[in-house]
């Protein structure tokens, strides 16, 4: 019997996937990952999309050294 699950497909690179897996673990039992598809694809709940985008934005911003501190 074919089963259908509604959600959101996330296509990303490998580091981002690892970050999302960690995020998912940290938020237990409030997990958002429905299925780990492969190295670069995850299937998640729709409600988590904005949250993970915020978290990724934070991660990218943390990883970026602002060249203008010395003013």
């Amino acid at each position: 019997m074919v089963e259908a699950t509604h959600g959101v497909l996330v296509t990303c690179d490998i580091p981002v996937k690892q970050f999302l897996l960690k995020l998912d673990n940290d938020r237990a039992p409030d997990r958002f990952i429905v299925a780990k598809l492969d190295d670069t694809h995850l299937f998640i709940h729709g409600w988590a999309v904005d949250m993970i985008k915020d978290q990724l934005e934070k991660l990218f911003a943390e990883n970026h050294i602002d060249a203008n501190v010395c003013y």
């Binding site: 019997m1 074919v2 089963e3 699950t5 509604h6 959600g7 296509t11 299925a35 598809l37 060249a67």
Partner: protein, 505 residues
């Protein structure tokens, strides 16, 4: 098959996306000569015959290979011996140097020449194809090469040498008939006044686009704003107009290409005056001519450079992505004197930018517009009378990217205005790479509403559904081993109907 007759919602969404893309392409790559080649043949011939400047202007517009062919053909006797004159296509192909890409350039050149009716193709008695130069174009070219063509817009060469340009009867041009009578013969206007006027008007419009609400010494009128909205450079939103993402790309285009986008929408004199293409005495803020020149208009260098705009615009200019099919080497090989001429007229002394490898940007310019334009992707720290100092920051660049400017455009813009003293004349590689990386950040994660199908009984059923979803263009991800499939959420209803109708378990 379970495919319903009405188009699925995804298809219409895709069609809309395609239409938007086409519109963007149209806006970005629509050029004077691209439009010309869509004219019916008799109109094109009439144009070449009516205006002495048409042939040289078209010559400047052509790709370099085509330009070479035309210059050669101009001196090949049109009416040859018994075979009716002209060249066989093979002879023409023989002109191209044997090489990897020569064939491609040759094809492109011949296509452009035929499209603009510069080369005419005739089929002779024996069915042999002959190519020859359009005689009207040939005459115009030979005259131009011999220096017999009077200067455009009735500029009196003697007056030009003296630094003043003659006026033209406004009534004649407004009536739509172009009577080339050589010099204009009206009272003269100093060229500096004209360039200064043109620069202020044109920058006023561009400045308006960059800072819609900010103070603007030469804000455009309602008519121009309406035209900008019609050209989709501006979008109407809740409270007034906002700049569209295509508009941001418009800002980084070369001057002539920008001008053409606006000119396509309108052709009457007051608007041209508003755009700074011509100076119309008595029009808001225009300097008054000497006595006797009240009913004249004066073409400005911006207007004159429109005639020579094509070299810049057909090769993509400073605009967005490379035109598909236009070889990169062509772009590099084409000199762009017209674009440079316009840039130097529209920005008081060209904009010269130094980018240091610590992301610091020094922009030597006195134009508030240029500073505002830079402010789109550079965090301006301070401004001095002739220089703005700022930094390329991640937040500013990502904002610009969100507005539809691409990383390549930013780098190309900075390269195009590199300060002569800058090492290598290019943005330092680490800065260029970082901008590209900031852009790539946006693409690191893509999310799309989807439905995950699993639990297929056999690979046959899975393959049928996968093929059906691929046909719809709705397949996002597949896993043959695990018999799983992710499809677009919009297409779910159709796929479900297919699964039910086919009895797939």
């Amino acid at each position: 098959m379970g495919r319903g007759a009405p188009p699925p919602p995804t298809a219409s969404a895709r069609a809309r996306k395609a239409a938007e893309l086409a519109l963007q392409t149209e806006l970005l790559h629509g050029t004077l000569f691209g439009d010309l080649s869509r004219y019916p043949p008799h109109l094109l011939d009439a144009l070449y015959a009516a205006c002495d400047h048409a042939a040289p202007a078209v010559l400047r517009a052509l790709p370099p290979t085509a330009r070479l062919y035309v210059v050669r053909l101009a001196h090949v006797p049109v009416h040859g011996g018994d075979d009716g004159g002209g060249l066989t296509p093979d002879t023409l192909r023989g002109w191209a140097r044997p090489g990897l890409r020569a064939g491609e350039w040759h094809e492109r050149a011949v296509a452009a020449l035929k499209g603009l009716r510069v080369i005419l193709q005739t089929v002779g008695k024996g069915g042999d194809v002959r190519l020859r130069l359009n005689p009207v174009v040939g005459r115009g070219l030979r005259a131009a090469m011999a220096g017999l063509t009077p200067a455009p817009f009735g500029v009196d060469p003697a007056a030009e040498a003296g630094g003043e340009w003659g006026g033209m009867k406004a009534s004649i041009a407004a009536g739509g008939t172009y009577e080339d009578g050589g010099g204009g013969g009206g009272p003269l206007m100093p060229v500096e006044v004209l360039s200064d006027h043109a620069r202020r008007r044109w920058e006023g419009i561009l400045h308006f686009l960059v800072a819609l609400s900010g103070s603007n010494p030469a804000a455009p009128s309602e008519a121009v704003v309406a035209s900008l909205i019609r050209s989709r450079v501006l979008e109407e939103s809740g409270e007034g107009a906002t700049i569209s993402s295509a508009g941001f790309q418009f800002l980084l285009k070369s001057g002539p290409a920008q001008l053409w986008v606006l000119l396509r929408d309108r052709d009457f004199l007051p608007t041209l005056a508003e755009l700074g293409v011509v100076l119309l005495p008595g029009f808001a803020g225009s300097p008054a001519p000497r006595r006797g020149g009240e009913d004249l208009f004066y073409p400005t260098p911006v207007g004159v450079s429109l005639v020579g705009s094509a070299a810049a615009s057909t090769t993509g200019g400073d605009a967005g992505e490379e035109v598909p099919g236009a070889g990169g080497s062509d772009v590099a090989a084409t000199p762009r004197p017209a674009a440079e001429a316009l840039l130097s007229t529209t920005s008081t002394g060209a904009l010269a930018i130094v980018v240091e490898n610590n992301y610091r940007v020094y922009a030597y310019t006195t134009s508030p517009f240029q500073m505002a334009l830079l402010g789109l992707f550079v965090h301006i720290r301070y401004r001095m009378p002739n220089v703005a100092v700022g930094t390329l920051t991640r937040s500013r660049v990502t904002d610009a990217l969100a507005n539809g400017i691409t990383a390549a455009q930013i780098i190309r813009f900075l390269n195009a205005h590199a300060h002569p003293r800058m090492k290598g004349g290019r943005v330092p590689p680490n800065v260029a790479d970082q901008v590209a990386l900031w852009a790539a950040e946006k693409g690191r994660v893509r999310t799309s509403p989807a439905v995950l199908l699993s639990g297929f009984a056999g690979v046959g059923g899975w393959a049928a559904v996968a093929a059906f979803a691929a046909d719809l263009g709705a397949k996002l991800w597949e896993d043959r081993e695990g018999l799983r499939l992710a499809i677009e959420a919009d297409a779910y209803d159709e796929v479900r109907a297919f699964v039910r109708d086919q009895g797939i378990e």
